[in-house]
Amino acid sequence: MPSESSGGALDVAGLRSDFPVLQQEHHPGVPLVYLDNAATTQKPNAVIETMSDYYRRYNANVHRGIHKLSEEATAAYETARVILKRFINAGSKREIVFTRGTTEGINLVSQTWGRANLNAGDVVLLTEMEHHSNIVPWQLLSAERGLRLRYTPIRADGALDMEAFRKLLQEEPVKLVGFMFVSNVLGTINAAQEMIRLAHEAGATVLVDAAQAVPHQSIDVQALDCDFLVFSGHKMLGPTGSGVLYGKRALLEAMPPWMGGGDMISRVSFERSEWNELPYKFEAGTPSIAEAIGLGAAVEYLNRVGMAAIHRYEQEIIAYALERLTEVPGLHLVTPERAPHGAVATFTLQGIHAHDVAQVLDAHGVAIRAGHHCAMPLHERLGLNATARASFYFYNTLEEVDCLVAGIYAAKQTFSV
């Protein structure tokens, strides 16, 4: 029983019963083994019900209404902001900007802070393991401004080359350091706190892509001291279309707005406009109200389970998964075996393309992902075309790891390798 092997901390069987998707058969007679959590997680009843309740009982536009429905919707929307603020320990709820997800958060920063602060020749230092969402926005800005994009290399063991990072910071002035907290392919957990300290010493502003970190471990933005931190709600039990940009208040205050429209202004005339205070300056138009409220419910669920317990249990699962996977002949682990790393196991199988592995696994009820996982440059760097990725969340079990491995053997049989 996973819930016992985690030291009694997590009642996984009990938790699983909160998730409708996990109750169903993937195919007739074949239970679903959902191992695509890095792409998106499943949602507990509490989140689904919270959103339905909004639509059934107090659906209204926020901030401007005097009637009771709008008052209640506004209160719920702003309460969600406070829940998120506490979850990452921001200094003020004004530092929590609701977004559609990680991608929108990074684009908001690149198109506002970036346009205001980055000019021809300025260096933006990323890493070789970044997700497309932390590469392409900077390339887009660079096409406009002529920036110099640099990438901290990874070592053979899948960790970031910290020596190279230090050197790159010293070689020339770096304006922005952007990096992922946890890799969605390698599972590497970067030394975020140290990287932020080094970047600040070098005078750089720091953006952290925490899409794969916030769902899996406790985060304290004040302790980290990052300038910006972004994540997606749908990867942490929350609804699609939800996410957060955290930014230090002084930075957000100084930034120009991004989108124009209702709610983000304090006054509009035909000639000019004045901006509303934080965070509304960055939330133009009717926001994703049900989504923010749903994300708040997701965080409350995570708080009840406990982020420390989640992290501990996932370490156990991933250790077991890596152990089992290394036993498979012809299986090459892309995920390095050294700890600590996130709940992601990425691999290739000799003689079978990753898509075909995923297809055979699907027939066995096991949902994984195959491809480049929005990290083509990393794959090119690793000399790989496509990889297969099993990614876990706290509701997965050791038995499900066994199903994964059984499915891989079945694929080998189909392809006679």
């Binding site: 901030h63 401007r64 209404g65 005097i66 008052e71 506004t74 209160a75 304090s266 509303n276």
Partner: protein
Amino acid sequence: MALTEQGRTMDDMYRELILDHAKNPRNHGVLEPCDVEYEAHNPLCGDRLHLTLRVDPSGRITAVGWEGNGCAISQASASMLGEEILGKTVGEIRAMSKDSLLEMLGIPLSPNRMKCALLSLEVLKIGLYGREAWRESEDE
């Protein structure tokens, strides 16, 4: 629908004193010249308040004048606050909290209407002590 809870709440909100201040605002009109001046808007509903003060060398408010437009709550709040601070010192006013203003109004307010009620205090505090001081008074 005579005496539902809401009917009562509403009657409370628009009790006589509030309506009287809203219809007959005290200290209405802008002072020229003046020692302190600030204007702000409530971006969500368009309420506007322009406040002017005269302060003597000892820091005492000797004259209050204001002008603006908005709902009965915001107008009554400005009128009552103006009466309240006249004769007080800038130091004494610093202690004035949101709660004390709401107590003075003495009516039940929903969160969105709270903004109408607090606009006068915001204009006063930012005018006297600057934006930062007002920010600090915000809860999380």
